[in-house]
C-alpha cells in the first residue's frame, strides 16, 4: 500500500506492506534510527513518537495507519541547533545513562507536559509508567521532567519546542 507521511518536517511517499509497523517503517524505510525498539509487547515505550501531536508507541501502530499524518521523532525536536527544553533538561539532570530508553522517554515526557504543565513527582511517575528505564532508577528522569516544566512555563506545546533556553546546544565537550 502507498502512504504519504510527514516525519520531522519532511514528507515521504512509500509503498509499505500492510503488516509493517510504524517503528519498522521509521527505522528501515526512511532511516530514522533514532527511534528504537526495546520489546515486543508494547511494555517498554522505547519506540514512543508523536503522531499528530500525541504520543504513541510506534510498535503498536501500523505504517498504513499514519497515511496523511505528521510524525515527530526524537530526531525532529531540536530546532535551529537548539535542543528542545526537555532534551536539555535530560542532559542537565543526568536523566540518562546508556541512553537507549531516552528517545521514548523524552517523547513521552513532552506529551505529559503538554497535558499537565506543572506535574508533581507522583504525576510524572504515573505519566511515565509505560516507559521502562533500566539504568537510572527514574529519579533523575523525574527531576528532568519537572525542571523542563519549570523552564517551559506557562506550558509545553509547539511554541515551547521552538524557542527559549539560552545555553544553545550546550552539551559538555562542545
Amino acid at each position: 500500500m502507498r502512504i504519504t507521511v510527514t516525519v520531522d518536517g519532511t514528507t515521504y511517499t512509500d509503498e509499505v506492506e500492510p503488516r509493517q509497523l510504524l517503528v519498522h517503517y521509521l527505522r528501515e524505510t526512511i532511516g530514522k534510527v533514532g527511534t528504537v525498539i526495546g520489546c515486543d509487547t508494547s511494555n517498554c515505550g522505547a519506540c514512543t513518537v508523536h503522531l499528530d501531536g500525541q504520543s504513541v508507541k510506534s510498535c503498536s501502530v501500523l505504517a498504513v495507519q499514519v497515511d496523511g499524518s505528521e510524525i515527530t521523532t526524537v530526531e525532529g525536536l531540536a530546532r535551529d541547533g537548539r535542543l528542545h527544553p526537555v532534551q536539555q533538561a535530560f542532559h542537565d539532570n543526568h536523566a540518562l545513562q546508556c541512553g537507549f530508553c531516552t528517545p521514548g522517554m523524552i517523547m513521552q515526557s513532552i506529551d505529559l507536559l503538554a497535558e499537565n504543565p506543572d506535574p508533581d513527582e507522583n504525576a510524572v511517575r504515573h505519566g511515565l509508567e509505560g516507559n521502562l528505564c533500566r539504568c537510572t532508577g527514574y529519579q533523575n528522569i523525574v527531576r528532568a521532567v519537572r525542571d523542563a516544566a519549570h523552564k517551559m512555563r506557562p506550558g509545553a506545546g509547539p511554541d515551547a519546542e521552538r524557542v527559549e533556553h539560552s545555553p544553545s546546544h550546550a552539551v559538555g565537550g562542545e
Binding site: 506492506e17 527505522r27 530514522k32 534510527v33 533514532g34 527511534t35 528504537v36 525498539i37 526495546g38 520489546c39 515486543d40 509487547t41 511494555n43 517498554c44 522505547a46 521523532t73 526524537v74 530526531e75 525536536l77 531540536a78 535542543l83 532534551q87 535530560f90 542532559h91 542537565d92 543526568h94 540518562l96 545513562q97 546508556c98 541512553g99 537507549f100 530508553c101 531516552t102 528517545p103 523524552i106 513527582e121 510524572v124 511517575r125 504515573h126 511515565l128 509508567e129 509505560g130 516507559n131 521502562l132 528505564c133 533500566r134 539504568c135 537510572t136 532508577g137 527514574y138 529519579q139 533523575n140 528522569i141 523525574v142 546546544h169 552539551v171 559538555g172 565537550g173 562542545e174
Partner: protein
C-alpha cells in the same frame, strides 16, 4: 594553553556522551547497515530437554527471500564449543557447548537452526516452515533434586549434574579458626536457608550483532560489554586467526553483566558470514532476549551463623547450591565464587567455611548479573545479622556495630585473607541514621505496633561492603580464572595540543568519556573539552579487558593515569632541552613546565608541536609524546555503605510500599558526583527489583513463563521510591586516585535492606522470612499463618521450581 585552575576531578560535569543520545544520533548495532546485508533469524527449542531426531528445512529454503537455512549439524565443526574461561576446580565438569544445538537441546530457548534471508521479516517468516522432530527427555529443574542420587541427568555423558565443588575453609587456609568447632561451642546458633531467585539482566537494548567478512579483517559489530575478550574468544572458538578479526562495540544500551558474554549468536553470525562471504546481521526480540540471553543469581544458600549470647559472632558456615543452567558460559562457574570472600562482609568472624556446589539444570545458562556473587553474599549475611539481633532482642545496628571492623583497626585482614585497606563504617552509619531519622521511625513503629495499625512499619538495615576493581591478576590466577585483571590505556598528544585517550575499558552508559576527560584534564593541565576518549574498537583500542565488576575507574582510569605520567616524563626531557636546564630543575603544573625559581616556562601544547616538527629534539629522543600503560592492581578496593529502608506493609493485602530509602555510600574519592549518584540510583533500582518484583519463573516442563516484559517485572517509575543518597569519603589506599568503584554498590546493598524491612514489619506475626520477590501474595501468606518461611524450598507442586507458586511469583 589554558591552565585549568579549579580541579576537574570532583566537579559535577555534565556528560559529554549525552548530546548524541538525546537527539537520536545513535549508533546502536541494529542501526547499522552495510551493502548486501543479509539477515538472520534463529529457531529456538520449545522443549527444555530433548533429543533432536531430525530437522527438515526443505520448505523453509524455498520461501521467498531465503538464502540459506543452517542447522547445528551443518556447522558442527566450524562453530566449535562456546568458551568457559573459569574452570574453578581442576576436576570441574563442563559439557560441550555448541552454538547451534547438534544432537540434543538442554534448555527451552536454545537455538537449533538459523535462517539467512534478504530481510529480517523474511527470515522470521521462514522459521515457521522448519520442521524439527524432538524426542523429549526428563527435565531437571530443581537443584536439590538434581544433586540427589538417581537424579535425571542434564548431560548423561557427565554422569552427574554436579559441575564442581569449590571450598574455602579458614582453618585449612590458615586465615581463621575451624567453623565446626565454633558451631559445637555456640551459645547462639542461627540456621537459615535463603533462596536467591533467578533474575534476568534485561538491559534495554536487545542484543544485536553484524558481521562483515568482506574486508581484510572480518569485522564484527556487537552489542557487547567485552569487545576485547570477544575477539580473542572468537578466534579460539572458530579457529579464525585473532589478527584477522576486528570487534567493534558501538553504542551499547546497557549490560549489567548481561552483555559480558560470548554468545551463540555471535559465533553463528561469524561462521555464517564467513561461509557465505556476505555480511549478516541479527537483532533479537525482547522475548528472545529474556529466554536466551544469560540469567543471573539462582542460588540456594544454607547458612549457619554462631555467636556468643553477648552478640559477638563466632563463626559462619555457608553451603551453596548454584544453578549453572544447561551450560557453562564465559564466567558462569566463577560467579558464586566471587561471593566466597564476601559472606563475612565487614564483620570480624573468627571462623568461616564456604562450600559451593555448581549444578546443571535444563534452564537458560546463568552468568554475571550486576554484583555477580556479591549481592547473594551480602543478602545472606545482612539477613542473618538481622536474625541474630531478633534472636537476642537487640537493635540490628547495635549488633552490627559490635561486630564490624572499627575505623581504627584498618588495614584489616579478614577471615578470608583479604586485606581491607580503609573503611569508616561508623561515619556512614551515623550519617544514614541521621538522614533517615532512625530513632523517630523506631518510635513510630512501636506506636503503630501497639495500636495494631493494619499497615505496619518495617525498618531494614544493610551495612555492606564489596570487593571491586577486578582484579589483581595474581589473585585471578589463584582462582583459576583464564585471564588477568589488568587494563590498558594510551594517551596521545596531537600536534595542536588536543589529547586522545584510548581506554580498554569499553563503556555502555557509565560515562567513561566524561570521567576520563576530567582525570586527564587535571593531570595534563588541558581543558576538559580538549580531551577525546576513544574505546570499543579493537583497531583503535587494541588491548583491554573491558567493563564489568566495577573495575573501570579503579583499574581502567588508573591505566590512563599511568599513561599520562609517561607523557609528562617524555615531555620533561624535551622541556629541559628547550629551556636549556636540567630535568630536575623543572616543575610541572597546570600543563606547564617551569624552571624552578624563574619565570621561564613552556607548555605541553608547545612541546607537542615541537615534537611534531621534530626539528630540535635532544639527541636520541624519539619524536613522540604518545604513551601507553597497562595497569595491574595490587589489591581490590572495598567500597562500603549503610542503607536504611522503611516500608509500609499492608497486613490486609500484603502490599509493600517503600516509604523511605536512605543510603550513605563510601566509594572513596569521587571523580564526578553526578555520575556517581546516577550509578547509585540505578543500582538501587535493580536491588529493590530483586527484593520486590523480579523473578524468572519456569513451569513444570521447563518453559520460562516470565518471557516478556509484561511478565518479567522490570520496575517502572511508579514502582520505585525517591532515594535519599549521601556519601562519606574515605579514599582507598590501593590506588593513586583513591577511588573504589560504584557500579554495583546500590544493587549489592539494597536487596537485604528491603527484605529486612519487610520481615521487620511483620515479625510480630511470627514471620522470620519471606522469599523474594516479596509479592503481596507471599507477604499476605506469611502473615496469615502460612509457613513462616513463606513457602519453603522445593516442596511445591511442579517439583520445586524455585518458586512458591508454579503459576509465577511475578503475579
Amino acid at each position: 594553553m589554558t591552565a585549568t585552575i579549579e580541579p576537574e576531578v570532583g566537579k559535577a560535569r555534565l556528560r559529554k556522551e549525552d548530546e548524541r543520545l538525546i537527539t537520536g544520533r545513535t549508533r546502536w548495532t541494529d542501526n547499522l547497515t552495510v551493502p548486501g546485508l543479509l539477515h538472520l533469524a534463529f529457531l529456538r527449542s520449545p522443549s527444555a530437554h530433548a533429543k533432536i531426531l531430525a530437522i527438515d528445512v526443505a520448505a523453509a529454503v524455498r520461501l521467498p527471500g531465503v538464502i540459506a537455512v543452517i542447522t547445528g549439524r551443518d556447522i558442527a565443526q566450524a562453530q566449535g564449543s562456546l568458551p568457559c574461561a573459569w574452570p574453578i576446580t581442576p576436576d570441574m565438569k563442563a559439557p560441550p557447548a555448541p552454538s547451534l544445538a547438534v544432537d540434543q537441546v538442554n534448555f527451552a530457548g536454545e537455538a537449533v537452526a538459523v535462517v539467512v534471508a534478504r530481510s529480517a521479516v523474511e527470515a522470521h517468516d521462514a522459521l515457521e516452515a522448519i520442521d524439527v522432530d524432538y524426542e523429549d527427555l526428563p527435565v531437571v529443574l530443581d537443584m536439590e533434586a538434581a544433586v540427589a542420587d538417581g537424579a535425571d541427568l542434564v548431560h548423561p555423558d557427565l554422569g552427574t549434574n554436579k559441575s564442581a565443588l569449590w571450598v574455602f575453609d579458614s582453618a585449612e587456609a590458615g586465615t581463621g579458626g575451624d567453623v565446626e568447632t565454633a558451631i559445637a561451642e555456640a551459645e547462639v546458633r542461627i540456621e537459615r536457608t535463603y533462596r536467591q531467585q533467578r533474575l534476568i539482566p534485561a538491559f534495554m537494548e536487545p542484543r544485536s550483532v553484524l558481521v562483515d567478512p568482506t574486508g581484510p579483517q572480518i569485522t564484527m559489530w556487537s552489542s557487547t560489554q567485552v569487545p576485547h575478550i570477544l575477539r580473542l574468544m572468537l578466534a579460539l572458538t572458530t579457529g579464525t586467526p585473532e589478527h584477522k578479526i576486528r570487534v567493534i562495540a558501538p553504542d551499547v544500551g546497557g549490560g549489567f553483566g548481561g552483555k559480558l558474554q560470548v554468545t551463540p549468536e555471535e559465533v553463528v553470525a561469524m561462521v555464517v558470514a564467513q561461509r557465505l562471504g556476505k555480511p549478516v546481521k541479527w537483532t533479537e526480540s525482547r522475548s528472545e532476549s529474556l529466554v536466551s540471553a544469560h540469567h543471573g543469581r539462582d542460588q540456594i544458600q544454607k547458612l549457619t551463623l554462631t555467636a556468643k549470647r553477648d552478640g559477638t559472632v563466632t563463626g559462619l558456615k555457608v553451603e551453596l547450591l548454584a544453578d549453572m543452567g544447561a551450560y557453562l558460559r564465559l564466567v558462569t562457574p566463577g560467579v558464586p565464587i566471587l561471593g566466597a570472600f564476601m559472606f563475612n562482609s565487614i564483620y570480624k568472624f573468627p571462623a568461616y567455611r564456604f562450600a559451593c556446589t555448581n549444578v546443571f539444570t535444563t534452564k537458560t545458562p546463568t552468568d554475571a548479573y550486576r554484583g555477580a556473587g556479591r549481592p547473594e553474599a551480602t543478602f545472606a549475611i545482612e539477613r542473618l545479622m538481622d536474625e541474630l539481633a531478633a534472636e537476642l532482642g537487640r537493635d540490628p545496628i547495635e549488633v552490627r556495630e559490635q561486630n564490624w571492623i572499627r575505623n581504627d583497626e584498618f588495614p584489616f585482614t579478614t577471615v578470608c585473607g583479604l586485606e581491607y585497606d580503609t573503611g569508616n563504617y561508623e561515619a556512614a552509619t551515623a550519617r544514614a541514621k541521621e538522614l533517615f531519622d532512625y530513632d523517630g521511625l523506631r518510635a513510630e513503629q512501636r506506636e503503630r505496633r501497639e495500636r495494631g495499625d493494619s499497615v505496619q512499619l518495617g525498618i531494614g538495615v544493610s551495612t555492606f561492603t564489596e570487593m571491586c576493581g577486578l582484579a589483581p591478576s595474581r589473585v585471578l590466577g589463584s582462582l583459576s580464572y583464564g585471564a588477568g585483571g589488568w587494563e590498558h590505556a594510551a594517551v596521545r598528544m596531537l600536534p595542536s595540543g588536543k589529547v586522545e585517550v584510548v581506554t580498554g575499558s569499553s563503556a555502555h552508559g557509565q560515562g567513561h568519556e566524561t570521567a576520563w576527560s576530567q582525570i586527564v584534564a587535571d593531570q595534563l593541565g588541558v581543558p576538559f573539552e580538549d580531551v577525546e576518549v576513544l574505546h570499543g574498537d579493537t583497531q583503535v583500542s587494541q588491548k583491554g579487558l573491558d567493563t564489568y565488576g566495577s573495575r573501570s575507574l579503579t583499574v581502567g582510569a588508573m591505566a590512563v593515569l599511568k599513561a599520562g605520567e609517561k607523557v609528562i616524563a617524555k615531555a620533561r626531557v624535551i622541556a629541559a632541552h628547550l629551556l636549556e636546564c636540567a630535568e630536575d630543575d623543572l616543575e610541572f603544573a597546570g600543563g606547564k613546565f617551569t624552571v624552578k625559581g624563574t619565570e621561564k616556562a613552556t607548555g605541553l601544547t608547545d612541546i607537542a608541536l615541537a615534537v611534531f616538527a621534530a626539528h630540535d629534539l635532544p639527541d636520541g629522543v624519539e619524536p613522540s609524546l604518545d604513551s601507553e600503560a597497562t595497569y595491574d592492581p595490587e589489591n581490590f578496593s572495598f567500597p562500603h555503605g549503610t542503607h536504611l529502608c522503611a516500608v509500609d506493609v499492608d497486613t490486609e493485602t500484603g502490599f509493600v510500599k517503600i516509604r523511605k530509602y536512605v543510603c550513605v555510600d563510601d566509594i572513596g574519592t569521587v571523580v564526578n558526583p553526578i555520575i556517581v549518584e546516577g550509578q547509585v540510583h540505578g543500582g538501587l533500582a535493580q536491588g529493590l527489583a530483586q527484593a520486590l518484583y523480579e523473578e524468572a519463573v519456569h513451569d513444570e516442563s521447563g518453559t520460562l513463563t516470565t518471557g516478556t516484559l509484561a511478565d518479567y517485572l522490570v520496575p517502572s517509575a511508579v514502582d520505585l521510591p525517591h532515594f535519599d543518597t549521601d556519601r562519606t569519603e574515605t579514599p582507598s589506599t590501593t590506588n593513586q586516585l583513591g577511588v573504589k568503584g560504584v557500579g554495583e554498590a546500590g544493587t549489592i546493598a539494597s536487596t537485604p535492606a528491603v527484605v529486612n524491612a519487610v520481615v521487620d514489619a511483620v515479625r510480630h506475626f511470627g514471620v522470620r522470612d519471606i522469599q523474594m520477590p516479596c509479592t503481596p501474595q507471599r507477604v499476605w501468606t506469611a502473615i496469615n499463618g502460612g509457613p513462616t518461611d513463606a513457602g519453603g524450598l522445593g516442596n511445591e507442586a511442579g517439583g520445586g521450581l524455585g518458586s512458591i507458586d508454579a503459576s509465577g511469583g511475578a503475579l
